[in-house]
């Protein structure tokens, strides 16, 4: 089994818009196909996961996607209720109605509570051995550090109480590099790469979670090698252009448009390569960097997830 799929808990994160959800959905799909009982959870319940799998809503209680795959959305309030019921054994949950209503504010007021209910629930699934792998479509760059750092923070803030007693085993799971890993998704662009590099550093310094790999998503294919590019440049010169246009019985302008389009593709790719080189240079050399291709065909929904899963599987085997 590829190393990445041998983890038990994977937090997939990255700047908004880089394809975090698709990558998380693909990792989960791949793992489930390899027989791992897999749970995939979206932390920000926007319905992205449901869109990725083209299924109905993915509630907190989970929706079965396929034999080994269940998808859910985080709901910290439901997580608290479950926690109270299952772990803290607080009875008659109905009587704490006001708590439920005021929950958002408690969670806001008591820093780290929402985060720990999120991370705690996910770790709990691992601890209870209900799944072999939990893939988390985690918050984007800005918030994920807070989430993963919450258990440590809680330990410092809360000195007694049930929460305190729970953080120890949560921290043990989070801090175990053979069980838990972070996956940073980025694209070959300036800001996503910058954020990925910053995030890698912050994960290391502020959280117990180890960086499993970095995924460069939407990498454009290489059009030409160097010598081919020289030929291409030659084609774009007016004399050759005339020739091409005459052969194709069309206007110079049209041929020029086609060549310009190819030039755009070359330029876009080259800009991307520069960012990827920076990424490689600034991420610790022992962290694997996986490349996923840009999907020219319909780039969303289940088909995209399958394509990304296939590409990922090839990357993992090389």
């Amino acid at each position: 089994m590829p190393e990445l799929l041998a983890y038990q808990l994977l937090f997939v994160t990255g700047k908004g818009g880089v394809g975090k959800t698709t990558v998380a959905a693909a990792i989960a799909l791949l793992a489930s196909e390899q027989g791992r009982r897999t749970l995939v959870c979206e932390v920000e319940p926007k319905g992205d996961l449901a869109r990725a799998y083209e299924c109905g809503p993915t509630p907190f209680s989970g929706r079965r996607i396929s034999e080994n795959l269940v998808a859910m959305s985080m709901d910290t309030e439901a997580s608290m209720r479950e926690y109270l019921r299952v772990v803290a054994k607080v009875p008659t949950i109905g009587h704490i109605g006001p708590v439920a209503r005021a929950f958002d504010f408690v969670a806001t007021a008591a820093p780290g509570i929402k985060e720990i209910l999120t991370v705690g629930k996910l770790c709990f699934e691992i601890r209870a051995s209900r799944y072999d792998l939990v893939v988390v479509d985690a918050s984007s760059t800005g918030n994920v550090v807070g989430e993963l750092a919450a258990p440590t923070g809680i330990n410092e803030l809360i000195r007694v109480g049930v929460v305190r007693s729970q953080t120890d085993w949560i921290l043990e799971i989070l801090g175990d590099p053979t069980r838990t890993g972070a996956v940073i998704v980025t694209t070959p662009e300036e800001m996503p790469v910058t954020e990925a590099v910053d995030l890698a550093a912050r994960l290391a310094s502020e959280t117990p979670v180890h960086l499993a790999c970095v995924v460069a998503n939407r990498v454009l294919p290489e059009l030409f090698g160097h010598s081919e590019e020289l030929v291409f440049n030659e084609l774009a010169r007016s004399a050759t252009l005339d020739l091409l246009a005459r052969e194709l019985e069309t206007s110079n302008e049209l041929v020029e448009e086609v060549l310009a389009a190819a030039r755009l593709a070359v330029t876009v790719r080259r800009d991307g390569v520069a960012h990827l080189e920076r990424l490689r240079a600034e991420i610790a050399s022992d962290v694997p960097l996986l490349y996923l291709p840009y999907l020219f065909a319909r780039a969303h929904g289940l088909r995209a997830v399958r394509q990304v899963a296939r590409a990922l599987s090839e990357e993992l085997l090389t």
């Binding site: 926007k46 109270l84 984007s140 800005g142 109480g161 593709a265």
Partner: protein, 477 residues
């Protein structure tokens, strides 16, 4: 890169507007934008993550300063370093800095107004808020030193939304600027941004806050809050609850100020002088998010001034004759390569002629890449059609390789949003291989290029001569 001066064929606005003879869509768009930015004092730029909100915000502000005049401030959240440097705000916090006229001069523009830029520093803004609303300096310092406060302001993601709106309000109140353009932080949910001020007021009035505070003062716990304490005690521990209560007692001293302020911020968002600009790319997920955002603006009766579709592939990809040429090129690559092989000049570097085989490979690759991008462009065109139907004023900004790294690039993007596709000298902005525009082939371009250029305060060398032609509307005074 070529930037065909042309819109996507399928774009509905590319047709002349019925009942307005002579006005092209582009002219109409320019007029709309100039009116919008002259009439409004606050522009809130929002949209899904990763679509280029910051660049669009800066472009709108820079272009408004250049063309419409007045004092324009762009408040950005987290600009890429190079953009921050370009605006002269690198490493700066909340303090607004004027973007020097020299920066415009380098871009070949003499602005009619002044451009300022500031970054939104979250914790600094929170601190300023506390200092303003705390009853005295001692209380302010106590709050600022409280570890829970630090935690709260750093982690409270919704707080960021509030702070963005609150800073906007403050700047508007100060009245130093004619136009404020605010780039919003990426929200979990677009509604968060719109509802943040309301929620802040609600928070301070909430029963919860009273509950947290009461038992600390007296041990009297009323019937309604008792279960809360039982559970909270059990989960959090009473020590933590006491810490929390202490913090909120301090915080409570700022209540009236905060509530009044949030209500005022709320009013500003709903004010007729405020407009929203939604930015998206034409990819499936961001487009859905943008659509939801537009809907929620509509539900709240907030003013949607403009929808910007960013990073749109050039129109040539969906141009049928160009597409046919690419197909032909691919089909006949081998044959074309043979007839070209002995006529391509000798490569000086290798002192040899490329083989027919290699030329064929290059041609085939060119055709294949065109087909790939055409697929994406077609999808984009459809999304654009759907989004434009949802809102009548839609601007498209073509894909720009590299990043917009200077004022020149920002003004170029601004020209695209304005709808007058001015040929700005493009090398600097990272556009490569720009060619003279072929306006004659563009559909629906009503105006002779001369007239539309005269209006524009930033353009290529020959356009600079028209600098004396001031923009028609003197903005935001």
């Amino acid at each position: 890169m070529s930037r065909p001066e042309r819109r996507l064929e399928s774009r509905p606005e590319s047709r002349p507007i019925p009942g307005r003879a002579g006005a092209s869509v582009e002219q109409e768009q320019t007029r709309h934008l100039e009116q919008l930015l002259s009439a409004k004092e606050v522009v809130v730029v929002c949209g899904p993550g990763g679509v280029g909100k910051t660049t669009i915000s800066a472009s709108l502000a820079a272009t408004a300063a250049a063309r419409l005049g007045g004092r324009v401030l762009v408040l950005t959240v987290d600009p890429a370093r190079r953009l921050a440097d370009a605006l002269g705000i690198g490493g700066l916090g909340n303090v607004a800095r004027r973007v020097p006229d020299e920066a415009f001069a380098v871009a070949g523009v003499r602005p009619t107004g002044e451009l300022y830029a500031a970054m939104l520093d979250m914790s600094e803004s929170w601190d300023a808020l506390v200092r303003r609303h705390a009853p005295d300096l001692g209380t302010a310092n106590e709050i600022l030193a409280n570890p829970l406060y630090r935690n709260l302001t750093r982690r409270f993601a919704q707080g960021h939304d509030y702070i963005a709106m609150e800073r906007l309000y403050e700047l508007h109140e100060q009245g130093e600027y004619d136009l404020l353009v605010v780039d919003t932080p990426p929200s979990l949910n677009a509604l968060d941004l719109l509802d943040a001020p309301g929620r802040m007021a609600e928070f301070f009035s909430s029963r919860l806050l009273r509950w947290l505070i009461v038992p600390y003062r007296s041990r009297l716990v009323n019937f309604a809050s008792r279960p809360f304490y039982q559970v909270a005690d059990r989960i959090l521990g009473s020590q933590f609850l006491e810490d929390l209560a202490e913090f909120f007692i301090l915080f409570q001293t700022m209540r009236d100020g905060f509530v009044a302020r949030s209500e005022a911020v709320n009013r500003l968002i709903r004010d007729v002088r405020t407009t929203f600009v939604v930015v998206t790319t034409l990819e499936a997920v961001p487009a859905v998010d943008a659509e939801q955002l537009i809907e929620s603006l509509r539900d709240r009766r907030l003013h949607l001034g403009l929808l910007v579709c960013n990073k749109v592939l050039p129109g040539s990809f969906s141009d049928a004759p160009v597409g046919r040429t690419a197909e032909l090129l691919g089909q006949r690559a081998g044959e074309l390569a043979n007839s070209l092989a002995d006529r391509v000049p000798v490569e000086p570097a290798t002192e040899s002629r490329p083989s027919g085989e290699m030329i064929g490979r290059v041609l085939a690759e060119v055709a294949r890449s065109f087909a790939n991008f055409r697929l994406v462009a077609t999808r984009e065109a459809e999304l654009l059609r759907e989004l434009s139907a949802a809102h009548e004023v839609t601007a498209t900004v073509p894909y720009h390789p590299g990043h917009v790294t200077d004022l020149h690039g920002l003004l170029d993007v601004g020209a695209k949003i304005w709808g007058d596709e001015v040929a700005v000298a493009t090398e600097k902005a990272g556009f490569r291989g720009a060619r003279p525009s072929r306006g004659s082939r563009g559909p629906g371009r009503g105006s002779p290029s001369g007239t539309s250029r005269g209006r524009v305060a930033g353009a290529s060398t020959e356009d600079r001569k028209h600098q004396s032609d001031k923009p028609e509307s003197g903005g935001g005074s």
